[in-house]
Amino acid sequence: MNKTLLILQREYLTRVKKPSFIIMTFLGPLLMAMLMIVPVFLATLSDSGIKKVAVLDETDWFTGKFENDENYIYTYVNENLDSLKAKVLKGDYNTLVYIPEPELNIPVNAMLFNAKQASLSLKSSIRNTIKTEVENRKLLSSGIDPEVIKSSKTNINIQTIKLENDGKESKSYTEVDVALGLITSILIYFFIFMFGALVMRGVIEEKTSRIIEVMVSSVRPFQLMMGKITGIALVGLTQFLLWVLLTLGIYSIFALIFGPEAVSQLPVGNNMMGQSLDSGQIANNAQINEIFEVIHSINFGVIIFSFLIYFIGGYLLYAALFAAIGSAVDNEADTQQFMLPVSIPLILGIILSNFIVNNPDGSVAFWLSMIPLTSPVIMMVRIPFGVPYWEIALSMALLIMGFIFTTWLAAKIYRTGILMYGKKVNYKELWKWIRYQ
């Protein structure tokens, strides 16, 4: 059996069998699902029970303005404040709204009396009602009809349509492109750091446990390094794949239990729609059509293909550098000085990606998506907006050349570094190692 393959197998199996890997694999999607499901679940819970609200309005401005809804029933009362408080305590009312006589003719104060803590939604709905009424009256006193204001408010709907070379026109959804670009680039960023650090720690572990000398008397350092890098890449891909599958699984279970309406209320569903839905709204036919149109507008083939290439290529490029860092130091505390320059391009990429989404075809975006150190992050931001195929091909070719170069460089450092102990290594020293025959 090929030795690199044997090493790959060990690196993969020991990590996949670790309890921490198994826990992370199952906990990750579960936490994600919790984040999405719990708010919806809580919302369905809070529906139960209608709350009675007493309104003591000393101004008489708001009679009939508080409208009953499925949660709250408003009763206008005219009693002594203290006796009402007593009633709230007794439980006759859940909440008492007290609007006192205004000091300067305009009521700007209100008080909520509760036996328990007042709910935020009630508070904000009462504030809105009071505010609207006060504003309306102010407008009226200045001679403006509030209805005029209302009718002048307009919702503008802008459709973005992408013109293609073959004359086709397709609707594009900028918000969706932004979300897709940012999500995929952040995923790549995390994958590179998480699993690159794993490679580095693996190398340091072999060095500190001194197994390294036994290993290099059996295999070539390059085989050891490549076995480790590819083995850990497979660990990462396995974890990623399991996350996708598990998340989908939890989603469909959730959909089965709560029905498709609940799914459309999930925050992710809303993001996909580019915030065009209010969270309380129920998906109707028009919206479902829109969802289909959005999905149709995404070029999944290109996105998935490039995601995989940049995901793996970016990882390989950085993992080799991380392996070299691990080989040059004796313990993890010493990695800092080398980690910084290696991580800066990636961090810069992720920071700049927020600007790139505003100008995905600018020259900064173009160059950063060509430089192999930043291209995995930046190109993924650009791709959903549509990038000429030759640019993608060039960038990928440069990425492949980049990782061949870093691997070659790292192998030179690695092979000397792994057998070097107790030496504070600086850049001058590394340069010397690279030049060794």
Binding site: I7, S209, R210, S218
Partner: protein, 311 residues
């Protein structure tokens, strides 16, 4: 028949010469001691044989063939700094390392079971390395070193970290391995084990070979012609009467009529003359030549090079 031939191997690091045109030859099926103070270049040489590093110039031949990647499978190396994957189970790890040396998994498993039974460590198979004591880990490491039945074994300080009982077990195993055909290179500071085990030695200092040969020849070569005689029933005093060419070095009386004397002879005189001279003075209990120990030769050689050593 020479199994290993090292010809004029030179290796320089950034700021020092680790090996300076070192040539050695290790006869087949012998134990060869590679001696020298710390930093002499032993590890550099061992790493070159193991193909961990390449020499700047010079050649290494194994069994008549120029050193090649395929030879890795025939070399077993026990480095001075022992190391195993701490989190890995003992059996799994031994199998892995054996496979990396090119042994088929099933064959490796069979051999490992034999070794584990011989060392009575079968119960450790499923335990993690970190749960074992240092001595236990050393045993595993030894097994891993020999599991692919290499023709050449390189042991760097094999006895460090072992208790005396285990040192003996290990010595027996090393001798048995030689018996079975292996050639063994043995790097150590422990001179008594050199005298006990090694057939040949080389002494390296500052990257230069300063001495090579069989242990017996070297000790003969550095003999000082000193004899130790133990006498009982000593009847009379004799030191003034020593014949020409003999010099009394020391004389210690033990008990009422027993005596221990050290006498040095000049090179041209015969040792038997001393014996016949001594016969009338009492009963001779023992009579032997004091050959210098490897320890003494080692220190004398290194110090004569005016090198500070730290063993």
């Amino acid at each position: 028949m020479q199994f290993i031939q090292i010809q004029e191997v030179t290796k320089a690091y950034a700021n020092h010469l680790a090996l300076n045109k070192v040539s050695l030859s290790v006869p087949k099926q012998t134990i060869y001691g590679l001696l020298g103070p710390n930093g002499a270049g032993k590890t550099s040489l061992i790493r070159i044989i193991n193909q961990i590093t390449a020499p700047d110039s010079g050649q290494v031949f194994i069994d008549g063939e120029l050193l090649h990647a395929k030879h890795i499978a025939h070399i077993g190396y026990l480095p001075e700094e022992r190391g195993l994957y701490k989190k890995m189970k003992v059996g799994e790890q031994a199998l892995y390392l054996a496979q990396l040396k090119g042994v088929d998994k099933k064959v490796a498993e069979k051999r490992l079971k034999l070794w584990f039974e011989r060392f009575e460590i079968m119960g450790w198979w499923n335990r993690k390395v970190e749960e074992l004591s240092k001595g236990m880990q050393q045993k595993i490491q030894f097994v891993v070193t020999v599991i692919h039945e290499p023709k050449l074994l390189i042991f760097d300080e094999p006895f460090s970290g072992f208790d005396p009982i285990n040192v003996n077990i290990l010595k027996e195993e090393i001798l048995r391995l030689r018996q079975e055909g292996a050639t063994i290179i043995f790097s150590t500071h422990n001179m008594s084990s050199v005298e006990e085990l090694c057939d040949n030695i080389a002494l390296i200092n500052n990257g230069n070979k300063i001495l090579e040969g069989s242990v017996r020849d070297i000790r003969q070569q550095y003999r000082t012609n000193t004899f130790e005689v133990h006498l009982s029933n000593v009847s009379s005093f004799f030191d003034e009467a020593l014949p020409n060419g003999f010099h009394l070095i020391s004389k210690t009386a033990s008990g009422s009529d027993e005596m221990n004397v050290l006498i040095q002879c000049d090179p041209h005189v015969k040792a038997n003359d001393l014996l016949s001279f001594l016969l009338p003075f009492g009963q001779i209990v023992s009579y032997k030549e004091l050959l210098p120990s490897m320890h003494d030769i080692f220190i004398q050689q290194i110090e004569s090079q005016n090198i500070k050593i730290s063993i």
